[in-house]
């Protein structure tokens, strides 16, 4: 219990607005075709919904894949961090992603 982990050293500055090389091909998650592996670039918006999306693991860098849509086209089912989540398109629009290479 004494082993304290300093994973995020104080000098690492997390740049929250960091689309970097992805910038060109970013789309919102709801526009992503089914089955293509992508990475989260950013979660826009604020408040409880954006926070909950991020708490559920939808954070910049996380791999994400649209699995299918519900029979009426909304909500969509996504795979994030090896589990599945249902989101409405409205919420999916706030998530920017980029298709992963390979």
């Amino acid at each position: 219990m004494s082993a304290l982990i300093n994973v995020l050293p104080a000098d690492v500055n997390i740049n929250l607005a960091e689309p970097t090389s992805f910038e060109r091909n970013t789309v919102s998650l709801d526009a992503m075709p089914r089955g293509i592996l992508a990475r989260v670039v950013a979660v826009a918006g604020s408040g409880a919904v954006a926070r909950r999306l991020m708490e559920m693991g939808i954070l910049p860098g996380a791999p994400v894949r649209v699995v299918r849509q519900a029979p009426l086209g909304d909500p969509i089912q996504i795979c994030i961090r090896s589990y599945h989540l249902a989101l409405r398109r409205v919420e999916a629009q706030t998530i920017t992603v980029v298709a992963s290479e390979g």
Binding site: L4, I5, L8, P9, S46, P71, Q77, Y83, H84, L85
Partner: protein, 742 residues
Amino acid sequence: MSTVLEFLSPSAKSVSNEAAHLTRPLTVALAGNPNAGKTSLFNALTGLRQKVANYPGVTVERKEGLWMLSPDEQPARLIDLPGLYSLDATSIDEQIARDVLLGRAVSLDSPDVIIVTVDATNLERNLYLVTQLIEAGRPIVVALTMIDLAERSKTEIDVEKMARALGVPVVAVVAKQRRGLNELAQVVTKAATSTPPKTNWRLSEEMEEELAKLASDVYESRDAAMRDLYSEDFPAEAEKREAIKLVRGRLTQTNPQWWQEPLMARYQWIETVVAEAVCKNCGEERPSITDRIDALVTHRFFGPLILAVVMLVVFQTIFSWANLPMNLIDKGFGSLGDIIRAHMPAGLLTDLLVDGVIAGVGGVLVFLPQILLLFFFISLLEDSGYMARAAFLMDRLMRAVGLHGKAFMPLLSSFACAIPGIMATRTIENPKDRFATIMIAPFMSCSARLPVYTLMIAAFFSGRKFFGILSVGALIILAMYLLGISVAIVVAWILKHTILKAPPPPLVLELPPYRVPNLINIAHTMRTRAGLFVKRAGTVILAISILLWALVTFPRTDTKRSVNQESIAAQRVSNAGAPQANETMGQENSSESASASETSEQIQNSFAGRLGRFIEPAIAPLGFDWKMGIGLISSFAARETLVSTFSIVYNVGPDGDENSPSLIDAVRNARRPDGSPAWTPLVALSMMVFFVLACQCMSTVAIVRRETNSWRWPLFMVGYMLVLAYIGSFITYQGGRLLGFS
């Protein structure tokens, strides 16, 4: 007295915390994400030594049990908290869990140890809660669940490495096989006296400076400042509130996403822990069997079809399989009443016992089999993971009226009984969405309305057919269900656009992997539900039954009193509300027929009779007379009382139920003072419409009072539903007459 209170208060306790551990039983809280195997673990640890209570002031249930840590020690109190994803709560369930975990719950001491269940097949998201609890300095132990499933999907987890990386004890458990439970007991006992784990990861320079400044100005520590700064709410104290408001405003100006930093820091830390402890050879894939089931179950065409079949099977089972035990319970209470009457001297006390207590409580307890079956299916669907898919399929439709996909299941359950349905709305995060769902739940035609529909159809529509195959009765029942649903949709839409106006609720819904339902969990759920239901029958419903009995019995018409009362009693017992009782009418006892007219007189002069005649002018436009008025009044306690009240009012023999020829004949032959028939098919239809729309159920009112924590909502609900019922019946009756029906 005051010293005792002081001693019991949390602050006094924390001073003598260390010493207290030796004498006081441990309080252990069980927390974790939904679907992380928490309930299975709780059941495995406590067995049958558990009870369910409510947290004071709110309706979230508190499950608590005794856990034998070791044979020679005092058992620990184990508290099963509602599942939560994060300490930043979004629903009442999550708020309660958070308050207990952070030691803020008024009703409960801060737990000595917190066991956090972590799903091994979904480590990263499950560990998020762990990081928050570490930050809060809580004494935690991680119980790693689903390791058997993780192993099957070729994920190897090094428990020791994980414990070292987390700085928290980790025990792998498989509840079903009782693997790791003893070790968990040892680790928890030890953790109770060790210092809680700490995290020393830090935020960026600027943020640390902000926190340090806040801490030196208004806060006691950096951690407290951090908690308040990143919370969704503002602190209660004015000084802190101002400081936090200032800092948040400044941060938002430079970077609107500033609040994301700790979330990202936590997940980055989790990723390093997972990288260290887990050897994975499958990338993003879930066990493919879930994918294959999902492909079918959420298929564009087959998905809705399967959902319809599932609903059909559930209802069919609830309505048909429950018949046998319901008849047995009904007969049991009937004979109990007979035995008491045979062995006790005739008199008021015996009447009260038999007519009031036994008939009333028995009439409600007959629903126990239906409620048990309903909860069997609900927990089966929930445990297997199908429930989330149903919400996924239905969300778009539900949203059209402004409701949440999660409202689908509560509304579906309300077709059996609104009470479990209303209780099931707790998973809906936004209170406005939740209240809107609660307000329309009673429109779903529940099982208690069936006896009424059955009687009306048997009396006036039996034997008729459409096109030679479709029975008119079945079509009418279907129409009643559809009427309830349509009105519910309209009301929901109106509520969501007026007093409960809110933007469409977000849907962030986990679709857990399909799992074989744990039968032990289901059995536990059914047992607790039955317990709670029986308890309610013994309190609220008992009181109402006695009141109703008194209203029908007083003031007394004194001729041939005892015979008269006996007859009422026999009828009430046998008619206590078995909705599907199919027994046929026995041969009538001569003394009972003889006393029939006195019974009628008694009813007419009783308070209930006077009340019936008092409201007659108001209900005449709906086609109802005063006898039906008595039925309406008594059915506000519970809908199914209508049938038993009618058999008293219409002097039917002892075995009259909604299928009994005598009650049906009595209803058909009832006359108004002018000699015209009291009942016509149109009156029957009007009566059914009234029952679809009116909120005639004391238990529903009581549960809404509890769930919304105010009298405003239940009173509003009874009021507006009564208005709708009146309008609906009025339109049916007067409209029907205009169209030339009688």
